[in-house]
Structures are given as C-alpha cells and as structure tokens.
C-alpha cells in the first residue's frame, strides 16, 4: 500500500531531495544569531518566572487585611492576576519554546553544556527521559501511524475514523476537557501506557520503574508549587497556592490547544502500518507533511507556541533550531504547491474548532466508509 498522494516514486524522491537541500542549507548556516536567540529566550523566561513569583508575593501586601490606603480587593486581585499571568507565561515558554525544543537536540550543536538534550530537565511533572522516548522516538518516527504512534488520541481519545469505535469513547468530550485542564499530568503518564496496563498487555511490574521516575519528579514539582512557595507566604498560604495552581492550568490549557492542533484538525491524515513498510526517507517526509497541521499567527504567537505552530516544519526537521521554522515555512509551502501536495495551515480558531468538533463527532460510532 502506498501513500495517498498522486506522485509517483520518482517524484516523491525528488520532493525529498528538495527538502534535504533546505535542511542542509539551514543547518550549515547555524551561528551566532541562533545562539543569541535561545540564550535570550532562556534569560527572558527566567526573569519572567522570578518576576511572576515576586509579583504574587507583592500582591499579598495589598490585601484589605493590612488596612492601608491601597489595600483593597480590586488592587490585590489585579496584582495577583498579573503575577499569575507572568508565571503562566514563563511556564509556557519553558515547556514549549525551550524545553521541548532543547530535548529535540535542536541546540546541542552549540556544545553549551547548559543547553543539552541529554541533561535538560523541564518545569513539568513529566520526567525528561521518559518524554524523549515517548515523543522523540515513538511519536516522531511513527507519526500518525495507527497502532504505533501513541499520540493519536493518547490512548484515551478517538481522533480518527481509522480507530475502531467502542462505547468507552462515548464520554470522550469529558476526558478531552479534563486532559486540557490537567495536560501536564496526561503527558507525565503517557509513557506508562495506562490503557495497555488496563487491557493486561503490560504488567504493573513492567510499569514500576516508569512510575517511580514520575513519582520522584512529581514530589519536587508539587513540592515547589503547592508547598514550598505557599509556605513562604505563611498565613496567606492559600492565595499563593491558588496563583501557582492557576498558572499551571494556564500553561496546561494553552499547550493542550496548540498540541491538539498539531495533528488532529480536519484534513490531517493517518496511516496504517502496511503503508509505512520499507518507507524511504522521502516517503517519511510526505507522511510527516500529510499528518501535520500549522497554525497561522504573528511572531509572538509562534514563540509562545514553541513554534509548534510550524508543526509541519517541526515534523520534517525535528532537530532544526525552532527560530528557523518561520523562514523555512514559506519555502516548504511553495515546494508543496509545486508538487500539488496539501499544506494544512489555518488560524487557531479553525484548527482548534475542527479538532474539537472531530472529538465530539467521533465519540459516536461512524458509518464504515467502504
């Protein structure tokens, strides 16, 4: 079985060669401006995180409890909201533009021991070594191959008609909402393969080392946001806890939205194991293209989405520094137009809308398309 495109093998090979050429051209031109970019993003992120925490504590001084002229509920709520937004933004930057991309080895070439895929640990409950397995290996190699890529519905959602319907999918809009709110926990448990545990395909003993790794990370992450920082506020423990919790939810909902728009919107294709047998690199490129979706937006939007708004370019060139995706995207899009291949790029509203609609629609059985 072949890929659902009108190109013959020679044309696919030529398409692949053109992509190789773009890749080599960009990779050999990496230099000072790329290094300066990632260092600047890291610096801004750390200042934002530090600043956010400080503003949250500062807001406590505006609680009506203190009785001074500025101490009013609106003042307090305004300032604590600002601090929470700063912290949430810092967490988004850290997880997406920094953590995800550093762990893809996008910055290893700099040989900076501080910014290496092998040693980076990110600010979320998922341990980085497990993430690098479930994401870099499973998802990026087997993108959208049913039965191989566990990111197709993350083991709990039916996001393609190619997944057989079962009654367990009926309430999937509920799972979907919960996953959006507590996305970091979903990501953390991803490599445990809970659905295989429940089905008995994997034993608890096999899952134990993974669970222990998650446990160690959870203790530190929860200890930080829900114990250490709140305790520092003494009697105002709950305010700080609430702000930290909200910052984590902001990060979760945003990254969930961006990530769900990567492969699930209308037009994105899935594949069978037979289709990818003996796949050449050129065909792998085509599969990455057909299975990925971009989101249009401005410069700040792309940075805040970790450049996963350039999901197509990220899947074609996963170890290319993310700041180069915007300049590569028009070239890839023009190349696709030349070969008559679909290039799925739309606004966040359209991509997230069709994704949500799909999850809702596929919770019900679909007539078998013959």
């Amino acid at each position: 079985m072949s890929l659902p495109v009108h190109l013959n093998d020679t044309e696919i090979d030529e398409f692949g060669r053109e992509l190789d050429h773009i890749y080599e051209e960009v990779m050999t031109s990496r230099g000072d401006r790329d290094a300066a970019y990632i260092r600047r993003v890291i610096k801004v992120q750390r200042w934002l995180a530090l600043g956010g925490r400080i503003v949250i504590y500062a807001s406590l001084g505006l609680l009506p409890y203190w009785g001074h002229a500025l101490a009013t509920w609106p003042a307090f709520l305004g300032v604590i909201t600002l601090g929470t937004l700063m912290l949430g933004t810092a967490k988004i930057l850290e997880n997406m533009e920094i953590g995800h991309n550093v762990m893809h080895a996008q910055w290893d070439w700099m040989r900076d021991p501080e910014i290496q895929s092998s040693s980076w640990e990110w600010d979320t409950v998922c341990p980085s070594d497990q993430w690098k397995h479930s994401h870099n290996v499973m998802h990026h190699t087997w993108t959208n191959v049913i039965g191989k890529d566990r990111d197709v519905g993350y083991g709990i959602l039916r996001v393609s008609e190619a997944q057989a319907w079962s009654p367990k999918y009926l309430p999937q809009m509920l799972y979907n909402t919960l996953l959006g709110l507590f996305f970091d926990w979903g990501v953390a448990l991803h490599d445990v393969e809970a659905e295989r545990l429940i089905a008995g395909e994997k034993t608890w003993k096999e899952a134990l080392p993974t669970l222990k790794g998650i446990g160690r990370k959870v203790v530190r992450q929860v200890g930080k946001d829900y114990l250490a920082y709140p305790l520092l506020a003494g009697p105002f423990f709950l305010y700080v806890l609430g702000a930290n919790f909200t910052a984590n939810i902001i990060r979760n909902v945003w990254s969930y939205m961006i990530i769900f728009c990567g492969h699930f919107p209308a037009g994105s294709q899935v594949f069978t194991v037979e289709q990818v047998e003996n796949e050449t690199r050129a065909k792998w490129y085509v599969r990455q293209l057909l299975g990925s979706c971009n989101i249009t937006g401005g410069k700040l939007f792309h940075i805040m989405s970790g450049n996963l708004s350039h999901q197509i370019e990220h899947h074609l060139f996963p170890d290319m520094p993310s700041n180069r995706y915007p300049e590569v995207a028009p070239r890839v899009q023009a190349l696709c137009a030349r070969y008559g291949l679909a290039y799925n790029s739309h606004s966040l509203g359209r991509q997230f809308g069709t994704t949500t609609w799909k999850i809702l629609r596929l919770s019900l059985p679909t007539p078998n398309a013959a």
Binding site: R46, R111, S117, K132, V137, T141
Partner: protein, 360 residues
Amino acid sequence: MKARLLDLAGLFATPLRPSHYLELVNPLWTTHRLQARVESVWDETADARTLTLRPGRGWRSHRAGQFIRVGASIDGLRHTRTYSISSAPERGDECITITVKAVDGGRVSRHLVRQIKPGDYLPIGLPQGEFVLPEAMPVRPLFITAGSGITPVMAMLRSYAALGRMPDVTHIHYAPHAYDVIFGNELKALAAAHPGYKLKLVHTRELGAELSQRRHFSAEQLAELCPDWAERDVWGCGPAALLGAVESHWNQAGRARHLHLERFQAVLAPVPADAAGGHVSFTTSKCETDADGHTPLLRVAEAAGLNPAHGCRMGICHGCDAVLVSGCVRDLRTGALIDEPGDKVQVCVSAACGDVALAL
C-alpha cells in the same frame, strides 16, 4: 544540616538550581558553572593580548605555572582551549591574567585576541597542571621558553618577585624579533632589579631567514648562554620543535629527570577528504573493531556485539547520540565531517572517516 537546607532552597528553583537565578543578577555568583568577567585587555605585542579575568564563585587560587580551560563561543559554537595563567598567585586583587597569542589560522586564539572586550564573560575551568615549581624551592632553575611559551614561566617569575625571593635563575627566551617579545619590558626590568635573574633573549629571525636557523636551540648555544646548565633544573615551554630538541639533549646528558616540559595539545592531523573507514574504538564499552566508510556506526557497534541505546535509526530522535572522543566521522546524510572532540555524533547516520574513538 547544611546539605538539607541547600536541598530545601533547591526545591524553590527545581528543576533548575537557585544558582541559575543568581546568574541573572550577576554571572559571577553562580555555583553550577564557573565563569570569569573580562576586566581589561592589554596588547603585549601586535598579535598577543593579555586578558585580565575576575573568576566567579568557586574559584580557587592557582600555583604559578598552572593553566585553565577557557571557553569561547564562535559562530554560536562553544570551543574550549587551555591557556597558562600568566599572573602570580600573589597578585592580590583576586584577578588572574591569561596572555593569548593569535595563531595563524587559530580560530579561538584570534577570537580571544581580537573580539573579546571588557565586560564579556568567559566560561573557565579550575587551575590544572603539574608544570609548577616544587614547594621546596629549587636552588637554580633554568627556564627555556619561546613565543607565548613565556606565559607559565612569567607567572613563576612574578611570583618570585612578589615574594622577594628571586633565586639564581637563567632564562633563555626565543622570539622572532625584539618587538615580538611578550612581556619584553617587564623581563628587562626584572633582570635589572634582580641580579640573580639572568635573562638571555634570542631573536631568531633578526639575521634574515638564512642565518636564523643558527639561532635556534643547540648544544653549543646552550653551553654559551648557560655554561652551568648541567647543574640546573629545567622548566621549558614553547613549540613542539623546541621542546623536542631540549628533551633529546637532556636525555643524552642523562639528566631527563631534571626536565619539566609543558606541552599544549598536539596538532591533530587533518582528515583526508577521501578517507573511508578505519579503526573504531568504543571507549565506554572498551571494544575495538574496524569499520568501512559507509556502514552507520550504530550497526558497526551492534555487529561488534554491543547494544547501544538508540531510537529511530534514521537520524531523527537523537536517542543514539554519542560523544566523539577523537578522530573523525562522516554524517551519511549530508557528507559533513565531524572531527571536534566533544561533539555529539548521531551514530545511526554516521560512518567512520579514518580512525575514530567514541564514548559508547
């Protein structure tokens, strides 16, 4: 107790360390890595510059003659080289100096000499090396230096002068011309102030190319400049040719154990463009094998009975990355050569290009 408290403070910064946030305010306050701020720069000659560095927290004082690793980012890429400290430990302002000569075709040395300015930060390592004077002062040292090989010996001389204990020293220093002598005026001032310090400057190119050979190190020259050489302990630093000549002379005289030489990394032989395959050492697993120029090293390792970590086997996931110890590999996708020790190699898409050692 202190460890517990630090661990608790660490919780506030997890998954980073508090030191990462201190770095935002002042890079010299960090404990997770050592950096130095460039305080000033001073041109010693047309192509040699002294950088005065203020090391951050975690620095410990050096012994005269030791060197440090210095990192520099050039085109976004980190390079690390070693440089002798040229200042004395007794300097007193908690700064150190390194003196770098811009080598022809030397990217790092040219960068340090031409691009670095006061206020820059450089990653550095702690002082290292055995090229030091014994704790019990030798009675009569002989220093033999050439070019920028003066730097560790300068630290020793400055240390003697600072302590006011200049012993009976003979110092033979080679430089192409008088104006090429790094620290020339300071050496002459030392010689004037300390009768025990006998400075013998040799300008090797002053007589034109033809006669200059005669000015290089030789037994006759040594006998003339330092008649009592056989009664001295020797510290030598300079180009490989000089050190080789000095070494064979002292070996012949049976005085090899009185010889202390400082050699910086040997120049690596360039990899021929048509090199294909070679001997492969997997250093972590202590396994040796041979490879051709087109089989991915991951398969070479597996054929040799190893089971290295890997993922996609097609250059996507970086699950198989291994650090290059020495030699050269070719990226089979792009044909690019990777030959800088410390670089990461994607072994699933790289083949040997000549002999290679990998930390695998």
